[in-house]
Symmetry: C2
Subunit: 147 residues, 2 copies
């Protein structure tokens, strides 16, 4: 029970959580898992990327991706970046999100990271409150561009 | 001339550009290059991280780090993230920044990335205008927390 590395046969359950989301429902699809599996394999093969799930007595109820980023700035400070943090709809409000975040912060510290960072869409006001309660600050603009 | 991978013996020049900055001047130091060299080695050894410099007839006048991030979200879309984008003080306003950005966007496309992302401190209003002119949008909050 708790945060652990995801297995390849859990990709469908992760995508189900990505779909069960105000923004995800319009941009994800279970019709073809191939691109998700390809991404999972790239994550699993890389030293600095890990796909995690929160396992509650054998049931997957949360997920997030950790990317560890070495960098020159701030005297060579390493950053822990998290992406695609989701909690299963039926489990929201139960504290799984907070437990997942505390677990990933501990992992990031063990990996030598000095700070954790994430971007969250400006429409996700609930998420902003969630992260602020955990000590995150909205110090930066998150800017994106399609290529 | 143009954007190319940085060499280890150019780390001092990169740190000089990181210091020559409204935020960097308070948090970087040339007293001991060891942590910067360690970070450079980690970047150079990794498949998904690259430290670039802009070489203008043998002179280093710009830098940025590219991190390619595989991810499950958005049907397994790969992201290109840039960090520590700097242009040498004496060269600012000459268009090097724009040329550097166009070059890195081309590299990111070649590497299969669907979008480019970055976070920039909310006090860097000049940087926001610079990125917006290149088509970036402030769609996200960039949230950070010290670990």
């Amino acid at each position: 029970m708790g945060l652990r590395e995801a297995r390849r046969d859990e990709v469908r359950q992760i995508v189900e959580m990505l779909i069960d989301d105000q923004l995800g429902k319009g941009r994800e699809s279970l019709d073809d898992l191939t691109p998700y599996l390809k991404a999972f394999d790239a994550i699993a093969a890389d030293q600095f990327n890990t796909q995690y799930v929160w396992d509650e007595s054998g049931e997957i109820v949360g997920c997030l991706q950790l990317t560890v980023i070495p960098g020159l700035s701030q005297k060579g400070a390493w950053r822990a970046q998290i992406e695609s943090v989701r909690v299963k709809g039926s489990t929201r409000g139960s504290g799984v999100g907070q437990k997942m975040m505390h677990a990933i912060m501990a992992i990031a510290r063990e990996r030598g990271c000095d700070q954790m960072q994430l971007t969250t869409n400006k429409v996700r006001t609930d998420a902003h409150r969630f992260y602020e309660a955990l000590g995150f600050e909205k110090t930066h603009e998150g800017m994106k561009k399609k290529l």
